[in-house]
């Protein structure tokens, strides 16, 4: 099947009623004082929103800035979405999600329940290595303080995207701004430890990085959300340390073994297997070097 056609089909399969929403967008309008109106948005003209309530015969015009929140009614085939996500078909999910959110983009400046979907997109972009897009979404979500959890998530992904893009300087500044460079003890939040460890690893301060990521694993073993990436990071850093002290290559392999046991068929497992190949190559290289040194 043609890829784009397939994607369209998929979008249709996952997001029911998207086509029907194209002309007018079903939404609940929340005004200051939490007064709510059910209805649909008909159009937008600059700052003006044309909204048709279910009871009123005539649409009303409202200033966008006067709206407290819009709650769009977006119908998703959650099972399908989960299935794709479980199959790690992230690009397909992104395509589909982007497509269904497209009609809502012109209302992005108004607080809405789109934040949730945007946060999904942000996470997916991060998983697929599109750090620019990740940061773009994270930046917009991070300033929205209606949902503290979502805001925290945006900050986390914003920081991670900077680190994974190799921008240590800006990442360091961001961590400092959030105060995430302090209090990195055993009681610290796992995400804070993890991000700080990643940053140190980027700066090639591997021993310090290792100490932090070890804290994620040792003190947050009940948190599968952070354990998985932390285990992978741990294996990566052990490998780097193994370049100086080959015993650490054993450590890296042990972590990989545990990842494969605990998190089979995950992104982390896949990357851990790639890391294993690298370690084997590194071992061969070290062995060769040793042989050369001995022969000299």
């Amino acid at each position: 099947m043609n890829k784009s056609v397939f994607a369209l089909t998929l979008a249709g399969a996952c997001f029911l009623g998207a086509a029907a929403q194209a002309a007018s967008l079903a939404a609940t309008l929340v005004m200051p004082g939490d007064k709510e109106w059910e209805g649909s948005i008909l159009s937008r003209d600059g700052d003006w929103i044309e909204f048709q309530t279910g009871t009123s015969p005539r649409p009303i015009r409202l200033g966008a800035s006067t709206i407290k929140e819009l709650q769009f009614s977006i119908k998703l085939d959650q099972d399908k979405l989960n299935e794709m996500n479980n199959n790690r078909e992230y690009e397909r999910v992104i395509t589909a999600l982007t497509s269904v959110l497209e009609p809502y983009q012109e209302f992005a400046d108004i607080p809405s329940n789109l934040s949730f979907y945007n946060s999904l997109l942000m996470e997916l972009y991060y998983k697929t290595g599109n750090y620019e897009k990740t940061r773009e979404i994270a930046a917009s979500l991070a300033v929205d303080d209606r949902d503290a959890a979502l805001q925290l998530k945006a900050r986390i992904f914003g920081a991670l995207a900077l680190i994974d893009a190799g921008d240590a300087e800006r990442a360091e500044a961001l961590l400092e701004e959030y105060g995430w460079n302090e209090g990195l003890d055993s009681a610290a939040a796992p995400e804070k430890l993890y991000i700080a460890a990643k940053l140190l690893a980027l700066k090639k301060e591997y021993a310090d990085a290792m100490e932090l990521v070890a804290k994620v694993i040792a003190f947050n073993s009940h948190d599968p959300d952070w354990m998985q990436p932390a285990e992978l990071l741990c294996a990566e850093i052990y490998m780097e340390l193994g370049k100086e002290n080959p015993v650490m290559l054993d450590s890296a392999e042990e972590v990989i073994r545990e990842i494969s046991l605990l998190y089979k068929d995950t992104d982390e497992d896949e990357r851990a297997q790639q890391l294993k190949v690298k370690i084997e190559a590194l071992r061969a290289e070290l062995e060769l070097q040793k042989t050369i040194e001995e022969s000299e």
Binding site: S186, A207, M210, E211, V213, A214, K215, I217, A218, F219, S221, H222, D223, P224, D225, M227, Q228, C234, L241, E244, N245, V247, M248, D250, S251, E254, V255, R257, E258, L261, L262, Y263, K264
Partner: protein
């Protein structure tokens, strides 16, 4: 664990077939007299209004009447009523009757409600805990075709529970898994997950268990107390079976007690509130009982948990141990670190401290490990692991040859409290033993000996005692205290028939006798050694030592062959050598003996033999040096020069071959003493040609040839070349002793202390055996002098003198030593040091004058002006000619000065006049100001 015993899912509805529901109302009491239609109608109405108790006899009556019917409608009516009767029994809590009725229902036809009946029946067996029956029924249900979602769900739920209760662990997981995946009820999901975990743990299905973990730990199931206790128990069992990986993964799932209790408390509170609310709304007694049981179960598990001794730290410690065991060092470290921080004085805290240090050593974080150890020792000098930690620190530093760090730890070792624990005592001796080696390797043999003595005298049972006796002997030997060393070596032999150092102790015994000048005993001992340990590594040295003894003997008529015997021993020394160093010693000692006998050709032959025997390991440069010397003595000067040039060219690019540097110096000497002017020019030309044709990659050789060229042109040129090398920042890797010697001297001449430090350190580290090493010590000494660090100045001189003694080129060391002592106010020592100079004929010259002047200065400082005057007089009377009268002039001036201080001004004037008349001093630059002064004094 709480198991729920009611079905969840679709509510059952009482539906009677239309055919039997159309009858009128009848009184409950008149069932026997009622017509069948009325009876059915009554039962239906009772069921519809929930009056199950009254409906039961009505339904029973219908069944009674229709049970034996065979027509389809009659059978259908009987079956429908059986089904409803069973349901009614359930509603009134009479499960056994319900089950009995359902058995009839399932034994007859038609069975439109068979699936529901099976489910109900299985449910009925819950109260009697007849799990086999439940399993059978649920399997029957699941084997039916076209099951709907609810049936699949309920069938698996029943089956999973039934198997679980029968401890069919492995078989219970799949149906429970289906139930988890199907249910929309979080409570069911949680309970099933907990059962799954328990089943997997009990069935030791680790891989499957760990597959479930991430999923379960995303839910509140992780807070279940029973689950946590199960995991902890399983973790411990795995740990005790050395199954570390599984133990780790189980242990690390266990949540801390306070988290579990807090969650359970919250859960109980929510359940109680809900029960109260629902009770007001109206729920069945069975439902109420069930809820109460659930609450009670949680409370019971809370009590169990509360009464459990503290487990968190133990679990953390075990996890740490496992992490370290599986080489996940850093995870182990942070856990141990945390436990230690939490409570530094508890047993687990201290053990964690020890473990954390072990891990740090494993990962190579030795600085961090040491920092922790030292902090611990400071906080708890008598801590449980004070000795263990110190042994770790000492051992690591010994391995790294960081001996200074080892000996620094002496105060810590000394402050350890006494113990009578055997294990601690052994550790204590380990500490003394390692400390002893730290001192030994730092050349502090006295302190090393003290540590060995500590072991010998205070730890007689120690495994180190025997070796301590031997090594204490070594410390005495190294101090030249042969008579003290001797009994230790003898004692070691007497007490350790199979000791590791038995042969060595005998050899050292010989060395002791030799040192004590008991040559006869020494020879006998070396002979005994040679006869007893012909395969020992020291055999070559024993031959060499005996050779030295024979060589030192005076040949007599009775015994004219001493040198022959010496030579025979040296040859054996070469043959039996196990290292090139041993062979070299024997070979070059033999060469010295031949030299005494003027046997030049023999020297040449021996060196050839030595080089053939040891080939590339031989000290070819030194051998060539001896060959060259012999050739010169045989009048073969040109051959010697050619041989030297050849060696320089062949080995000169290897900086480590410092015999080449010796040859360069020898070549310069030959040039000065044996070559004519034209031959010297020829030699210079040859060196120049070699420099022109040199391969550009041979940078070390180039430098050596340049040094040779400069030295052949004279001291001034050599000095200038040294300064040039210094100025150019010549890389150290290109230098050899001859280049370094020139550069060190240049650094001293220019007062460049930075270079003095850099060069001397490199020189001493790389070429400690070089004959030219004294240049490095000289630079080091001048560096300390410039820094006014007199202690280090004297230490540096001591080292230099220890290596080179009173060789002609070593006068600088003695005069600086004396000057330094003078500066430090140690006048007696200074005077003695100056006086020493006068006793070394090789230093005769300006150094004598300087020393004499120094002795005078010492006396002035001590207030003994007469004696001082006498020394000054001797300077200008005895050493007039040195350095163009410079020293004599200084003597005159100092003499006059001291006379003034003695009040003898006239004599002082006469002394100065004598200076101006003395032909050695009257043209000295020092004379002019004296002349001017005297003019003023005499009023001219």
């Amino acid at each position: 664990m709480k198991f729920f015993s009611r079905l969840h899912g679709r509510a059952m509805k009482a539906v009677l077939v239309a055919a039997v529901c159309s009858s009128g109302i009848a009184a409950a009491q008149d069932f026997a007299s009622m017509g069948i239609s009325d009876l059915v109608g009554s039962a239906d109405r009772m069921l519809q209004r929930g009056d199950y108790r009254t409906a039961i006899p009505a339904l029973a009556e219908v069944i009674n009447r229709t049970g034996a019917l065979t027509d389809p409608q009659g059978r259908e009516t009987a079956q429908t009523c059986r089904f409803q009767l069973a349901r009614a029994y359930f509603q009134v809590g009479n499960a056994s009757e319900a089950v009995s009725v359902l058995e009839d229902y399932l034994a007859n036809d038609p069975r439109p409600q068979e699936r529901t009946a099976l489910r109900m029946m299985a449910q009925g067996f819950f109260d009697s805990e007849n799990w086999e029956k439940i399993e059978e029924l649920s399997l029957r249900l699941l084997s039916m075709k076209d099951l709907d979602k609810d049936d699949v769900y309920n069938g698996n739920l029943l089956l999973g529970q039934a198997r679980f209760r029968q401890e069919k662990w492995a078989e219970s997981v799949a149906p429970l898994g289906i139930a988890v995946n199907t249910t929309k009820d979080p409570r069911v999901e949680q309970l099933c997950q907990i059962m799954i975990v328990r089943a997997l743990v009990e069935g030791e299905q680790w891989r499957e268990l760990f597959g479930w973990i991430p999923r379960i730990y995303r839910t509140d199931s992780k807070y279940d107390i029973t689950l946590n206790l199960t995991l902890m128990k399983a973790g411990r069992a795995r740990f005790e079976d050395d199954d570390y990986l599984n133990a780790l993964l189980l242990y690390r799932m266990v949540l801390p007690r306070e988290k579990l209790l807090a969650f359970a408390e919250e859960r109980v509170s929510a359940l109680v509130d809900k029960l109260d609310a629902d009770a007001k709304r109206g729920i069945t007694e069975a439902e109420t009982d069930e809820r109460r049981t659930e609450i009670e179960n949680i409370r019971e598990s809370m009590t169990v948990l509360e009464e459990l001794p503290p487990y968190e730290d133990e679990v953390s410690f075990r996890i740490g141990q496992i992490y370290a065991e599986v080489r996940r060092f850093w995870e182990g470290y942070v856990l141990f670190d945390e436990l230690y921080k939490k409570d530094r004085t508890s047993e687990i805290g201290e053990a964690s401290m020890l473990q954390s240090v072990l891990v740090l050593y494993d990962v190579g974080q030795t600085d961090k490990a040491e920092e922790r150890i030292l902090r611990y020792l400071k906080e708890r000098p008598d801590g449980q692991y004070a000795r263990t930690l110190q042994t770790m620190l000492l051992r690591d530093n010994l391995i790294k040859q960081n001996f200074a760090r080892v000996v620094e730890m002496l105060p810590n070792v000394q402050q350890l409290p006494a113990t009578d624990d055997p294990a601690e005592l052994e550790l204590q001796t380990d500490l003394h033993y390692m400390m002893a080696f730290g001192f030994f390797q730092s050349f502090d043999y006295i302190s090393a000996g003290e540590q060995f003595t500590e072991i010998i005298e205070n730890y007689p049972q120690s495994s180190h005692r025997a070796d301590s006796v031997y090594y204490r002997g070594m410390t005495y030997l190294m101090q030249g205290r042969y008579s003290s060393a001797l009994p230790d070596f003898q004692k070691y032999q007497a007490e350790n028939q199979y000791g590791e150092h038995l042969a060595a102790a005998l050899f050292r015994e010989g060395v002791c006798y030799f040192g004590m000048e008991d040559i006869e005993q020494a020879e006998a001992t070396f002979t005994r050694f040679i006869e007893t340990y012909s395969d020992d590594l020291l055999i070559s040295e024993a031959y060499s030592m005996r050779g030295d003894i024979e060589a030192a003997k005076e040949a007599t008529n009775d015994d004219p062959y001493t040198l022959d015997r010496a030579l025979a021993d040296y040859r054996k020394g070469i043959d039996t050598a196990s290292s090139s160093q041993q062979a070299s010693y024997a070979a070059f000692q033999a060469a010295k003996v031949y030299k005494l006998e003027y046997k030049w050709q023999e020297i040449i032959d021996l060196m050839q033999y030595y080089m053939d025997r040891w080939e590339e390991q031989a000290d070819v440069a030194e051998a060539a040096f001896w060959i060259g010397q012999a050739q010169i003595e045989l009048g073969q000067v040109n051959e010697a020069v050619e041989a030297y040039l050849d060696v320089i060219e062949r080995f000169g690019n290897d900086a480590a071959q410092f015999g080449v540097d010796k040859i360069i110096n020898e070549l310069v000497k030959i040039s000065q003493t044996h070559l004519s002017e034209s031959d010297r020019e020829d030699l210079a030309l040859k060196v120049k040609l070699k420099l022109t044709n040199i391969d550009p990659r041979y940078e070390v050789l180039r430098l050596r040839l340049q040094v040779a060229e400069a030295l052949l042109q004279g001291e001034d040129i050599a000095e200038a070349f040294g300064a040039e090398l210094l100025e150019a920042g010549t890389p150290l890797k290109l230098t050899s002793p001859s280049t370094l010697a020139l550069m060190c001297d240049a650094a001293v001449d220019t007062g460049n202390t930075e270079e003095m430090k850099r060069l001397s350190e490199y020189f001493i580290e790389k070429f400690e055996e070089s004959d030219l090493l004294w240049h490095a010590y000289r630079a080091q000494t001048f560096m300390h002098l410039a820094d006014e660090n007199y202690e280090e100045t004297l230490r540096s001189i001591d080292e230099a003198q220890g290596l080179f003694g009173a060789e002609p080129f070593m006068g600088w060391a003695q005069i600086i030593k004396a000057d330094t002592e003078y500066r430090m106010g140690s006048l007696k020592e200074a005077e003695a040091s100056y006086n020493t100079i006068m006793g070394v004929p090789e230093w005769r010259g300006p150094l004598f004058a300087e020393a004499m002047l120094g002795m005078g200065n010492c006396r002035v400082a001590a207030g003994d002006l007469e004696a001082a005057h006498s020394f000054y007089q001797r300077v200008y009377l005895l050493f007039k000619s040195y350095d163009d009268g410079q020293w004599a002039a200084k003597g005159y001036l100092a003499s006059a000065d001291v006379l003034v201080r003695m009040g003898e001004e006239e004599k002082a004037v006469n002394t100065l006049k004598a200076m101006l008349e003395d032909p050695y001093t009257n043209t000295s630059p020092l004379a002019e100001p004296v002349r001017e002064q005297l003019k003023k004094y005499e009023g001219q």
